[in-house]
Structures are given as C-alpha cells and as structure tokens.
Amino acid sequence: MESTPNSFRNMPDERGHFGDYGGRYVAETLMPLILELETAYRAAQADPAFDAQFQDLLEHYVGRPSPLYFAERLTEALGGAQVWFKRDELNHTGAHKINNCIGQILLAIRMGKKKIIAETGAGQHGVATATVCARFGLPCTIFMGATDVSRQQPNVFRMKLLGAEVIPVTSGAATLKDAMNEALRHWVANVEDTFYIIGTAAGPHPYPEMVRNFQSVIGKEAREQMVSRTGRLPDLLVAAIGGGSNAIGLFHPFLDDADVKMLGVEAAGHGLDKEHAASLAGGSPGVLHGNKTYLLQDADGQITEAHSISAGLDYPGIGPEHAWLKETGRVEYTSITDDEALDAFQLLCRTEGIIPALEPSHAIAAVAKRAKEMDRDAIILANLCGRGDKDIFTVAEALGVEM
C-alpha cells in the first residue's frame, strides 16, 4: 500500500503477517488455493470494474451509505460526550456482514467458482452469505454448530428460505469454532470448485486483509460523514469485537489519524474470571483456523470454549490485525459482561427507539462508561453493526420474560 513507513495502515506484509500475527497456517491441500485466492484478489483490487460493481451493489442492494446519526437523547442520558452511531444495522439483512459477503462473492464469481460455503455462529453471516448466493444464483452450504442451530432457529429458517443448505455440525462442542473446522474440512475435499466466504477478519491470509478492506467502507463513509457534519474527526471510536470485522472496518481508515482514539470491546460473558469470549483480555497467542492470534486456550494449547450472551461474539479467537493493534498500543481493548450488554441494550431501546443487536450492545455499554468521563464537546463514534430483532428471544429469556 502507498502509505508512509510509519503508517498503521500498511499491514499485513507480503506473507500476510501483522507483526507476529496472521500468516497462512493451513494444511498443504489448501495452501495452493490460498495462494491462488491472493493472486485473484490482487487482480480484482487492480481492476476498476471490480470496485465499480462492488460499490454499485453496496449502494443499490445493501442500501449504503448507512446514516451517521447523532444520538441526542442517549447523549443527554449519559451526560458526557456526544454519542454518534454509524447505522450499519440499517443495511440489507440487518448487519455489517453483508458488505464483506458482496465483495467475496464477486471475487468467487471472478475466479469461476461454482459453489459457496460459509460458517456461521449466530446465523448473521450465514444469512448474509445465503442472501448473496440467492442474488447471484450460486448454491450455498452453511455449516452451523448443532447447538447454535437449535438456539437460532429464526436464522436457520431464513437461510433455508434463501435457498441455502444448513448443515448442523455435531463435532467438538458443536458451536462456531467447530462449524469453522467443518467448513475447512469440506473445503479441503472440494477445493477445485468451491469458494469459502469467511465471515470475519480472521483465517489464513489473505482473508483478514480482504475482509478488512471490504468492511472498510464503514470507516471511510463515517470519516467523510463526520467531517461533513461536524467539521472535525471524532475523539473516540468504539466497536464490538468477536472476530473483529466491524471494528477493523470502522478503525482502519482512521488508524493514521493520531488524535482519534479507538476502543475495541470484547465480550466478558459471565466475567473475565469465569466463562467469557475475550481473547485479548483473557487469552494468549497461538495458532487456530489458519492464523496466529490471541486465543482462549489452556497450558497445552487446547482451545477452550468461549461464552457470550451474544452468539456473534462467542468465538475463542480474534482477527490477527487486532492482536497486532493491541501490541502496538494503537487501539485500546476492553471488555463488557453479558449483564452490562443487556443494560445497554435496554438503554438504547428506550432513549433512541433503536433495538440494537447484542453485539453492538457491548459497544454501547463501553460508550456509556466512557462518555461520562469525557467533555460535553467531545465526540464518540460507535458502530451500530447490527439490529436486535434476532436477539429478542435471548433477551426475553435473560430478563425472565415468557414469550
């Protein structure tokens, strides 16, 4: 990239490494395919027609640009900094996931691939992938942990309505990481004709970079909108992190704006001393799913189960660029518990008339803490990366409401 030597925006290196993290830790069967994918992606990046088609679909199919919204009543309620939201929950399919799926399916078509596979946890990435497959007429197979299939039935039905085949994964703990294992196993056996649309900014190079670049539309739009509306850059960016795709999409275009601070919010589940999904706060570096990054693991390197009330944050790893940004100190990372996220969920419903997904509810909870400590003329920009319709059953159960 044409960045300055001291830029935070010129990662990864040519081997796909973000400092010590990232890389291509895959079985040899996949390695030639990963290299072919990188070559094809570089060619697509250099082709104005590819970007033109991507931008056209983002505008007319996804509904971009998403609004930048000043949350006036939330700001008043918190009594501190101004809180602004990037409204990616208004995208088609209700979350930021579709941005990346559009980009990857265009690449798959360009590569002549005939079938699409994807993993999903809560089902949001599965729905977004099934959506773009229907739009482009490609057969779609979604791997989903059997545990998640039973607790996310509405999304399973959505995927099926969209024509996808949903394969419940019973191996391991039958959750997101096992779904990813099974998708990788399927891919290994079907490398010639199948494209794997990974849903977050993780996995083997070039996925973390590619997903980041497709999601960077969030930050690019937000930066322009903020300057246009307020005449200046925000003081603090806040985003929730599971694998970290919405956060890196928001952060990356601002990384070289030295005055803009950034806060990534992991899921602390029942608490960092109990079951949680905070890989940076409670994990350590290791290798899983094609990349080196922070993982929840034991002393022998066995991967431990994550927990979060938000299925989208319930993953024992994190994108490698976040691991690097943590170590460089450019981005600060914190964590929010299930209970704090539930409080923030209700706060946003009542102050702004917006039902957020449980994932951005973690970001909102962190915003609530920080806003109170900041001056009233300071600006916080948080990514409202998904809407909460999918979560109302989970929230009802957590609040003890029978439906």
Binding site: Y25, A27, P32, D300, I303
Partner: protein
C-alpha cells in the same frame, strides 16, 4: 543412518501406522503395532480442533482429551516407547498450537529427549516454517512435510525444501479416513515426487485394507494407515491391542510382500 532412514532401507516397502496418544492403553497399542510388523510409528498428539481429520480421528482426539491427556502425557508415552523399542522410528503427528504453545524450542528439546525421530505438523506449511522448522532441525528431528494432489510441480520444490525423513503424500484432497484414491493417480503422483526428491515417499489418507495397502506398496516406498487402526481403539477399548496386532500383521504382510508379487 537414522532410524527413519533405516526403516525405508529394508529392501521392501514400509508400513507406517498411526494411533492417537492417550486414546486407550496407548503403550499396549503401540507394542501391538510393533509386534504386528509396523516399520514406522506415527503417534498423534490430541488437539481440540483437528481440522484435517475425519470423524474417526476427530473422535479419538476427543476421547484422549476427555480422559485428561496432556502434552506431558504424550511425551511420556514417547519416552517409554523409546525405552521399550530402541530401534523403531517414532514420529509425532499433530497440529501447530499444541506443538508451539510453550515455544518451538521447548517442544523440539523435549521431543528429542524422548527419542522422537520426526514431526508432522498438519497446519504449518513451508510458508510458516519459522514457527517450528528451525527448532526441530537444531535438535536433529526430521520435519516430515505433506504433499497433496493440489501441490503442483511448480510448488513442489517449496514443499521439499526443508523436508527430511520422508515425504508424506496425501493421496486425496480431503480429510483422513474417508475417501480412497485410484491407484493410477497415486502411481503418477509418486513418480512426480520421485523425480523431485531422493526422500522416501509414503502414501496415506483413506488406506484401510491390506488389499489397498498392498496396491499402494507396489508404487510407493511406504503406506500410512491411521483411521482403520484408530477405529479399533474406539471399538475394542482396552481389548484393542490384539485387534490392532492382527490388522497390522495383515497390513504388514501385504505391504512387505507387494513387490515380490510383481517379481513373481
């Protein structure tokens, strides 16, 4: 000559047998493999997320971890095997994370001290060799790389550079234990590998029966059998050794005599 080199220099094809450490009475299962005639032992290191393995070995990993197997236990099994069988080559096979958790130097030193001859790490391709390769070489442990149907001629030198011991040819693009490849395609692949390296070529993935093993042994230097043995561990539990010994003996007979049949 190293133990691994000797195993492939017996004037006949070698039988390479895999079981998962900590799945049942591993010491007795390993002894049964040796008694049955295995030339090289692959000892699987259990991992929570065995992405390249099919159902049989996935389940073996979970059984082993379910009874609390640790890296220390795996190394102890290797060390005791080496004491009982000073001449049989032993290879640790597994995934990157358990191998590098305490640092690659720690793992290489411990493995060397336990008499391990080689390491197969499924998810460290040549591009990430720094993560483990230098540490193993410094301790004289062979790094056995995998070549696959997707490893084309242009890429092959990259895979072979830094490989030692033998080359493990994965005969199908897929996971362990399920499909089997056509013998003709294996013959072509082995010829392609032989043209590029002097290392012995062992062929695995999907090899279950003496008939399949014998057919591959006609064209390769070694045959790897894993899932079929691991399934015996699952089915027979503590009674597995006698079944393992019987299957290994029939596999060894087929592999060791495969070339004689051609000569006759």
């Amino acid at each position: 000559m190293t133990r691994l080199a000797s195993a492939f220099a017996k004037g006949r094809p070698a039988l390479v047998c895999f079981i998962t450490a900590g799945d049942g009475d591993t010491a007795s299962n390993l002894d049964a493999l040796v008694d049955g005639g295995a030339d090289v032992i692959e000892l699987g290191m259990p991992f929570t997320d065995p992405m390249a393995d099919g159902p049989a070995i996935q389940a073996a990993n979970l059984r082993s971890l379910g009874v609390g197997s640790t890296t220390r236990d795996v190394l102890l099994i290797a060390n005791e095997f080496r004491e009982r069988h000073p001449d049989v080559p032993l290879v640790l096979m597994g995934y990157a994370n358990p191998m590098i958790r305490r640092g690659p130097e720690w793992f290489a030193a411990e493995a060397a001290a336990c008499g391990v001859d080689g390491v197969i790490c499924v998810d460290i391709p040549p591009e990430e060799d720094d993560a483990l390769g230098p540490a193993l070489r410094a301790k004289g442990i062979d790094l056995i790389r995998l070549a696959t149907p997707t490893t084309d001629t242009a890429r092959l030198p990259t895979v072979l550079d830094g490989s030692s011991g033998f080359v493990y040819y994965v005969s199908v693009a897929g996971i362990t234990g399920l499909q089997q490849a056509a013998t003709a395609s294996i013959e072509d692949a082995v010829a392609r590998l032989k043209a590029a390296t002097d290392l012995p070529i062992a062929v695995g993935f999907g090899v279950r029966t003496p008939e399949q093993a014998g057919a591959i042994a006609r064209v390769a230097d070694g045959v790897v059998v894993g899932s079929a043995l691991v399934e015996l561990c699952e089915k027979h539990g503590t009674a597995a050794p006698e079944h393992i010994r019987a299957l290994t003996a029939s596999l060894a007979e087929a592999v060791h005599t495969a070339r004689k049949e051609i000569a006759a």
